[in-house]
Symmetry: C2
Amino acid sequence: MENKQVLIDSLPEGKLKESDYKVVKSEVTKPKQGEVLVKTISFAITAGTRAGLQGSASYAGAPTTGIVMNSTGVGEVVESSDKNCPIGSKVLTQTGWQEYSVQSPNDLTVLREGVDPSLYLGPLGINGLTAYFGLLKVGQPKAGETVMVSAAAGSVGHMVGQIAKIKGCKVVGVCGSDEKCNKLINELNFDAAVNYKDANFRQNLKDATPDGVDVYFDNTGGMILGSALFRLNTGGRITCCGVVSQYDTNTPEPGPKGIPGLLVNKSIRMQGFLVFDFADKYNEATDEIIEWIQSGQFKVLTDEVDGLDEAPKGFVDLLAGGNIGTRIVNVST
Amino acid sequence: MENKQVLIDSLPEGKLKESDYKVVKSEVTKPKQGEVLVKTISFAITAGTRAGLQGSASYAGAPTTGIVMNSTGVGEVVESSDKNCPIGSKVLTQTGWQEYSVQSPNDLTVLREGVDPSLYLGPLGINGLTAYFGLLKVGQPKAGETVMVSAAAGSVGHMVGQIAKIKGCKVVGVCGSDEKCNKLINELNFDAAVNYKDANFRQNLKDATPDGVDVYFDNTGGMILGSALFRLNTGGRITCCGVVSQYDTNTPEPGPKGIPGLLVNKSIRMQGFLVFDFADKYNEATDEIIEWIQSGQFKVLTDEVDGLDEAPKGFVDLLAGGNIGTRIVNVST
């Protein structure tokens, strides 16, 4: 049986290019005793995986060529001798960019029945849980406070803003186009949205945050983090979630001015985190998010790409800010 | 009655100079009803007050010339109609660099009897409380962890290291001379000390922290913060207490590389604070520190300068790293 795969063909120098990937066909690997074969339904493309191509600084370890590009995906078990995930089970796992993958049952999560599997690549997946824990446990906003989020139309950001609204906060998003700004305000109920590519960005951000900022959920680092620092109130908190401004390059910028001076003067807390730190609370988060989706308070925003061949282009475009919501690649139906 | 005072004569351009100050003699102001007159015994010179001469970014507000240089000091009440601080009381207050100051009883702390007043400029004063709360409440080290502190021979740093030792941590200090390094190790019981002016500083720091760093108490910002970031363990904490590397300049550097990237990858928390945030716990901290001093676990290190006229020189020298321990200016005896 044939397995279409997308391999990392070269490590990107400077910006990622489609030609850094290669589509190949190989024979499906036979699962060994105790392993299962998963047919990929769809997988998510997220900016964070770009860091894995960048050197040893990432938590994902050092990058290599000639291997299947990694990603989280959902799939259906098509061969199994494991009674906990029999044939037909829908699972969440590291499918990678390929049609079939062999998995150990320990490395997959069997999805709840009756829930659309693709939700596990968005609000119920790593992105959604990252938004949930990063905002509520790390940022700790109180009702009435102002929450600012960067990459606000991205897979994590658009969920952060919605969760903050549900918790009674005022929400200001920062993103890279007026189209995205409009969508955040009109479709996702953000109080304001600011385009960081606008020449008046700093003034516009100031105007959009008349009461300052209490929690800044940072997906970008760089200039937007620098601007946020000057809007933060005393006692403000910064959730350090990602550094998308610095992923698609070999030469990361220095940190913003004002670190650590402004942190001292305004008693600001900056906290990095990994969603895995909260693994023992995934179930309660999932319950709460499903409830929000079912009650209509939380809007699922996906941005779909069809077919494995389109994945490299979809990733390059995502890094250039092309997506609104979670970008998902549909592999089979 | 005559009052000798040291005024800010010009706001420093670039590095602070002695000539930025002017010594004058004026008539002592008569206290109004309800106010008291305090005769300064001694005051502390701390690097943090340099930030107050730098612009509006400091919590101390915008700087001006023609006013008495600010500082915390201890003194004796010499005129009073307030029964809570009668004549003869020893008090801690913002004396400034002058022989006499008029104070409202609300703005001073009456010192415990039987305790040397000068201790209130060191371990029992703002420096000591800053070290205590910044380390224990913000940094939250556990016994057995490695604590790194910069400006380790300074008024806050030398106390941070001692408190960390008392709490069972391994302590590594960073300072600017081999003489200071030796003093930290031999007199204050630090496990290691590293001179940041040494060409091999990064390698020496690495060698001195074989288990990485769990808590970094940052008094400097800049290059030392940047180096500390690379030694921090997952789950590490940075107490942002001061930015002495950036005070004596008009053009602060950008923040270190690795912010926020390393914070994300290693779940690091950076937290600024002001000691005033912990005002409700000053008494219990004072009890504990007095106990440590009396039991000999905590060594008081002061660096004394005699006479108001010597204060500007003492401040310039302190900013150049000349002091070991808390620098105190004795005004009257």
